[in-house]
Amino acid sequence: MGALRIGIDIGGTFTDAALVDGDTGAIRVVKVLTTPEDPAQGFMAALERGLAECQAGGGDVAAVVHATTVATNAIIEGTTARVGMLVTRGFRDILEIGRQIRSRLYDVHLQKPLPLVPRRWSVEIGERLDHEGRVLQPLDLEEARRAVQQLARERVEAVVVCLLHSYLNPAHERAVAALVREIMPDAYLSVSSDVCPEYREYLRASTTAVNAAVMPIVSRYVDALEQRLQALGAAAPFYVMQSNGGVMTAASAKARPVYMVESGPAAGVIAAGAIAAPYDHRNVMSFDMGGTTAKVGLIQDGRLRLSTEIEVGAQAVTPLGEGRGGGYPVRTPVIDLVEVGAGGGSEAWIDAGGALRVGPRSAGARPGPACYGRGGATPTITDANLALGRLNPAFFLGGEMALDAEAARRAIAERIATPLALDPLAAAAGIVEIANAHMIGAMRLVSVQRGYDPRQFVLVAFGGAGPLHANALARELGIPAVLVPPNPGIASAVGMLMTDLRHEFVTTRRLPLDTLTPAALESLFAEFAREGQARLTRDGVPPADRRLLRSVDLRYHGQSFELSIPVPAGALTADDVARLRAEFDAAHERAYGYAAPEDAVELVNVRLAAIGVTPRPRRAPLGQGTRDVRGALKGQREVWFAEVRGWRKTDVLDRTKLLRGNVVAGPAIVEEHDASTLVHPDWQATVDEHGNLVLRAAG
């Protein structure tokens, strides 16, 4: 047995651990119940059970990677730290005013989210820089000292320093930070020019405040886990998943917890990229459908698609921006995902106007879908799938939980079919079709809207319900191929082991691109490169495994949004700078439907990601078989297919018995412990050497 790399993912119901043998690539998965009051308990339970099943001990652990929602939960539940903030005179209300918008337009009872810094702890200091970073008014150090002393008297736990235009000149912020360290040595400190050196003061202040607000809780949590790991004899590095799809060391997580606020779904997209990598697909769409929602993410031209801003603790924000202002904006790179309220537990209902609706309400785990037999009477997507024969009532979660197909049919008949005067099967098929329509909308949104055609993508489907719906979605959108990895239900935990160490650097430097010499551009990255190398050295990453990814955010002069364009590695030439311009025009054309080659281009932000490549788990190759799948055949059952408007006798196969090269002709269902993959008529699934099912149109 080789050393184990372990990914631990804490979900709402289960805590999953994936243990990968570094030598063989063998993956072992354990699930334990999540312990919401003390998540570390479930973490250790999963870890210890996993090690026991592998007959291993703490000393066999090579690395632990962890995705946690502890930071996000603190914000949503309002259990953040006592935070004070030091600001430029005249601007104490940056967080109170926010964007001055309402997150719901027609709700006269709406309330704004409470600022993370109470107004009385937002203290003004005399100082002012202009928009080029020049000092208009020197820092009043005495006043700053009094302000810090005031916060010390108020016993705040964490201090935010956010002064106007500090992204250009951090001198005043650093001087104030030094005072905080002197007067409040035990306080957590979060300085805006350090955490988020970008312009737009509310976004920078909010990001820095979110960081400060979760620093104490994240530090305590990470410390506790490290201690328990040590007690177990596991001295291996402990990494925390970031929202940008990379991981960071425990020390970084404690200093910049804002980088982990949306890390949960990121691992799934990473997993999708890794699953599709052997296929040389440049464009990958990840499709993760679970119990309450479906999440769609993109990998374009081989790169993760990141957005630079999210709101933590907000309701869903529509493409037009309704819902903005309902949470706490955070300006860090975040894997770009679209989430729809369509999961297995999403309810079907009839609205006041007589229309059939699906979601976003979810039956959750309790009472759950009608077929769970726990008292749920409202039909869900899972009930519809069951009524159509697409799920096996005797083999849900590998048979751990029996489903009541009669209850599902009854719920659909009573609540949907009868009132709408529909045939019960048509009602069930309709529920699935409407759910699929929601997901197709999300997929269009992430692809077409951003200037891509879904037909250029491969779809990677996972989550408990993803493989059941993926084929129909691909057919509808014209996506040529669907990949379903083995154990689709735990793809995220495995995905965490496919991530790299990642340090992000960004700063705002507004410069006209056409006057920029290669040397000047190079120099903008120099300090980041040095600091990135230093951090990777501290992380113990050997030089051969380091990558520095440089990029610039560009826009046409006058625009207020930017596009990120990669800057090649190595010494830059005049050609490289000219190419940035051309690539920006092309990217703009793709994203927005037009380019303006005659307009001046402005550089806004300079970005560098310092990456420490970590070894990837490799699944042991599957044994070679023939096209013939009879060895894996479990039986047959009748399944309803909307496209033929009828039942079809459908092969049911045992995924664990499939071999490389097997070809499953649709209609077929491939069952495994945590998911079922549906292959539609006129489609087929081929088993590849990694055990993935590759679905394509037959013929």
């Binding site: 104490r92 107004r119 106007g353 709408l420 949004f561």
Partner: protein
């Protein structure tokens, strides 16, 4: 729910297909909006989201609409039919785009420019996609086209319905004509291209939907969608109590004369029919303080939408139930050649007014007086650094009104207005201005059991130059009111050189030339409260005192709550005595 609903959709409608089409239509208008927003140049469209997108059927009925700004709720529904009727549907060809901003052909103020693109399928004209976007400047007498004027010709370029896009391409001649009339041509080009791109995408998507379902079937489902909306709207209105509910109010002067502008509304509810009579409003003024009928319509529609289930879609099935009467030639139904730059100010006040009128009928659903002004701020001139002409425009938040259940929010936009603020750092980097202060105004709330929100102060200085400055706002003379015994808020103040010995209060509507070194302080109103402030739980008052939002002196004087100045704690005995004394 105990009762299981019975089938309400028409017998020949498949409920599944109905829902799929309904979702597709919404997704299309939202994708249009996302395209417009992402491709636009100007902060006003991109960051502040001042636009809306919609799909109309061949009979020019609104089918689906997506918007970030509810001010556009009613306007597109008015503009598109009138523009197409004026232009002539028979003259349209695939790839055309009709541009219009004429306030007297259905438009609103000149800055809001609409682009309409016909959708053809198999050679037949089957519908229209349209978007409306606020352009920062459309020419005229004041930078930002927001200023004190007395007739429409002073406010900028009036665009009747013209074919701006031919064969998918912007007409270079018309574009040149437009550009030479607007200040700041760079942003304009990007914004028009964004409007064109949004419609191109919308037309393509609608075409795909027609191909998928067949034009005839789609039309059948669109009819049902409108009936569905109408059914739900009727059911919602049917919950309202019958009666005749009236209110009136005054705006500050109109910008030319100091004579207050009277607005009056009578809402009649009769067995689920709601009609709004605005015929009691003053005659139109030779000033910018006039609303077109589209603007007044938008205000009314906004309030009605707030009163019903937010899940009810916005389309013709909703619009056609709204009955508004207004008098042509009045400030809510201006006739040519009235100026309309402050028309949204009028419409904003109509919203407050209708909520006040309906307070008796629907006490649980109304809000006390909000900041009640759009608060347009614009300035422009020659930039001292670049030598180029610049124009800046923004609107500033204020307090929101309290309801019987909730305090009003501090520092938000009100009613149909939901535009974001421009970050100070971005503003200072892009324009020759320095923001000296951007803060809540303490003690500006309307007191009450539930208090109104606080207003906002924003101070502008102009190092090294002196631009022309315009304020088109209101509420300096007539404060946002309280309801159900709640108190009024601090009114707005517009002050030149505040806290100096030459400080001077400015009217709420003015265009003037600054002198070097001048500072303009815009101080927006708070929101009104509900019920008596003496009923407010003491801990709520103590919390606001601790946060510095309400002074200890005001807590005692207005709320009867005594806070120990040393500890910030409640002096319960003193408070009880104070409240008992006044009860």
């Amino acid at each position: 729910m105990s009762t299981i609903p019975t089938r309400a959709l028409a017998a020949d409608i498949d409920p599944v297909r109905f829902e799929v089409i309904r979702n597709a239509l919404l997704a299309i208008t939202e994708e249009m909006g996302a395209t417009l927003r992402r491709a636009a140049y100007s902060t006003n469209i991109k960051t502040r989201g001042d636009f809306s997108c919609a799909f109309f059927d061949r009979d020019l009925r609104t089918i689906a609409q997506a918007f970030a700004q509810p001010s556009h709720l009613g306007s597109l529904a008015h503009i598109v039919p009138r523009a197409i009727q004026t232009y002539g549907a028979e003259r349209l060809a695939p790839g055309d785009g009709i541009l219009i901003n004429d306030p007297y052909l259905g438009g609103v103020h000149l800055n809001d420019i609409t682009l309409i693109t016909p959708v053809f399928h198999d050679g037949a004209l089957l519908g229209y996609v349209a978007n409306i976007a606020h352009h920062v400047d459309v020419g005229g007498g004041a930078p930002g086209s927001i200023g004190v004027s007395s007739e429409i010709y002073q406010e900028g370029l009036v665009i009747p319905p013209v074919r701006f896009v031919k064969g998918g391409q912007i007409d270079a001649d018309i574009f040149a004509l437009i550009r030479s009339n607007f200040r700041g041509t760079r942003e304009i080009s990007g914004d028009f291209r964004a409007q064109t791109a949004a419609n191109r995408l919308g037309a393509q998507r609608i075409g795909e939907l027609m191909a998928q379902h067949g034009a005839a079937t789609l039309a059948q489902y669109l009819d049902e969608l409108l009936r569905y909306t109408e059914r739900r709207t009727r059911a919602a209105f049917a919950e309202f109590p019958d009666g005749r509910f009236a209110a009136e109010m005054f705006m500050d002067g109109d910008g030319v004369s100091d004579e207050p502008v009277k607005l009056a509304a009578v809402v009649t509810i009769e067995s689920g029919r709601v009609s709004v009579d605005l015929t009691g409003c003053d005659d139109q003024r030779p000033s910018p303080t006039n609303a077109t009928s589209s603007q007044a319509y938008s205000g009314v529609v906004y309030v009605l939408k707030c009163l019903i289930d937010p899940d009810i879609p916005v389309n013709d099935g909703f619009y056609r139930l709204i009955d508004i009467r207004s008098r042509p030639g009045s400030v809510v139904h201006a006739q040519h050649p009235a100026a309309v730059a402050a028309g949204w100010e009028v419409a904003m006040q109509i919203c407050d007014l209708l909520f006040r009128a309906l307070a008796e009928a629907l006490p649980e659903r109304v809000v006390a007086g909000t900041k009640g002004c759009v608060c347009n701020i614009a300035f422009g001139g020659i930039s001292p650094s670049s030598g180029e002409y610049f124009t800046y425009y923004e609107t500033i938040a204020g307090g929101y009104g309290a309801t019987l259940r909730t305090d009003g929010m501090d520092a938000v936009q009100a009613h149909f207005q939901n535009t974001e603020n421009a970050p100070v750092e971005e503003t200072e980097a892009n324009y020759p201005v320095r923001i000296l202060r951007y803060a809540l105004i303490d003690d500006s709330e309307g007191a009450g059991r539930h208090r109104g929100g606080l207003g906002v102060r924003r101070d502008y200085a102009f190092p090294g130059h002196a631009p022309s400055f315009s304020i088109l706002s209101d509420k300096a003379r007539f404060a946002p009111w309280g309801l159900f015994g709640g108190e009024a808020a601090r009114p707005a103040k517009y002050v030149l050189n505040p806290e100096t010995d030459h400080a001077r209060e400015l009217p709420s509507k003015i265009t003037f030339q600054l002198a070097p070194g001048d500072v303009v302080s815009v101080q927006t109103p708070g929101g009104g409260g509900t019920r008596s402030p003496l009923e407010r739980p003491a801990d709520g008052v103590v919390r606001d005192v601790a946060l510095g939002k309400i002074s200890a002196a005001r807590a005692r004087a207005v709320y009867g709550v005594v806070v120990d100045p040393a500890t910030g704690a409640l002096d319960a005995a003193a408070s009880a005595a104070e409240r008992a004394r006044r009860a």
